[in-house]
């Protein structure tokens, strides 16, 4: 759902050396890296299952989904836990910057110094003093991911 031009609470992160943002509305929590248990047969951006307080959910390599360079997992990375259609997913990010309110404008293609391989993943661009930041759509990121058992993620609204 593309956001109108209004201030939105955003969670700013860093993925593969570039700054991105998630709308806090879809974010459940932020946590340090938990070593995923790899599952055979998953696509490459499906890093495996993680156990958080007894609950299991998949860990997604966002940089792979965005067709950006994917360095190996390191313990200094973080997991942004998102809630999509009642299911929880973990998104692997390098750094978590903070929660801030910013103006979001529609995505206008290439952001200087930042090539987005999949523009449909974007909800818009956040206007920040340092420069525009692509706001990612969590639902779009996990869309089409087939879980074992055949249940794909909901497409969202």
């Amino acid at each position: 759902m593309s956001a109108p031009e209004e201030n939105t609470e955003l969670l700013f992160v860093e993925i593969s050396g570039a700054r991105f943002a998630f709308p806090t509305a879809g974010v459940a929590e932020v946590m340090p890296l938990v070593e995923p248990t790899a599952v055979p047969g998953w696509p490459s951006f499906g890093l495996g299952l993680i156990d958080v307080r007894g609950a299991l959910f998949p860990l997604i390599d966002v940089s792979a989904v965005l067709s950006r360079p994917t360095p190996p997992i390191s313990p200094s990375q973080f997991i942004v836990v998102i809630d999509v259609g009642g299911r929880r997913w973990g998104l692997l990010v390098d750094l978590v910057d903070g929660v801030r309110s910013a103006l979001v404008r529609p995505f206008s293609g290439l952001v200087p110094g930042q090539a987005l391989g999949a523009p449909e993943m974007s909800r818009g661009m956040a206007i920040e003093p340092q420069g525009p930041v692509v706001v990612l759509d969590p639902e779009a990121l996990v869309r089409g991911f087939e879980l074992p058992g055949g249940h794909a993620a909901d497409a969202g609204q």
């Binding site: 609470e9 969670l11 806090t24 509305a25 974010v27 459940a28 929590e29 932020v30 946590m31 340090p32 973080f78 978590v96 903070g98 929660v99």
Partner: protein
Amino acid sequence: MLSIRAQISAFRWVALALTAVMLAIAAVMALVLGRSFARLFEQLRSSILRTARRVDDLVNQLAAVTAQQTSAASEESSALHETNATAADVGEAAAASATRAAGLVERGTRAEEGANAGLETVASAVGASRQLREQMGTIGAAIGALSERAATIGEIASTVALLAERSNLLALNAAIEAARAGTQGRGFAVVAQEMRGLADGSNRSAGQVKTIIGEIQSAIARAVADTREGERRAENAEALANRAGESIRKFVDVTAEVSLAGKEIATSANQQSVAIEQMVESIGHATQAGNTQLETTKQVQETARQLRQLSAEMLQVVTGHDARGAPAVGPAGS
């Protein structure tokens, strides 16, 4: 030599007596007995002449012999003088040798003193090295304790940093919840923000502590390396000092031997000196004796000459002319 003089004196008196007797007889004969006695006198005269001639011969031989003796004596004298001079040179050389040997002994004694001082220095150097090594050991232990403390502090700093990170995340999640709660969550958002501020501060402090700990550990590592280097150098110094001590002891032994040899040389040089002195003395005596002999021989020569003169005059008287046949000049002298 004295007996020869006495004999020659006696001979003179005999010759004189003979001459007197002859004259007396001649006078008596001429006066009392005439020509027959003159013939008898003539026989007597010829035998006296023969005897006088024999005396002359003998005196000549004696003169020749004494002349030889004189020249031999003077040769002997000059040879003795030369020998004396040479002996004096040798004596000087022996004295010089003795002096040098004494100098050698003195130098040997001084060298020994120097070596003993050197040994003392070596001993104190070895002692100092040992002390240094002990000190290094103590320093090393202290550095070890320091290193452990630094490591402990480093661990604590890491824990603080971890806690700060967790607090940070907690604050973040609180902020997310607050954002989801909308207006109701605004107050909570502020609290969450403050929490993040605190967490950031802790994180920074922990970071600073870690940096400082890192610096301390580098300094400790350098100190350890320096201590080890110091220990190694002290060990080397001790080994060197020990080797120096060995060399000095060997030197002392050699010096003692040299000293002993010097003393022996000095002793034998002294003995040599004494022997040469004695030799020079006896040469001196011999020279003196030779001189005396020369004197005596010269006197004998003089007496022989006088004797020859006398016999020549005697012949003159007896024959009416001298031994060479020239007519007589006057009455015989004494």
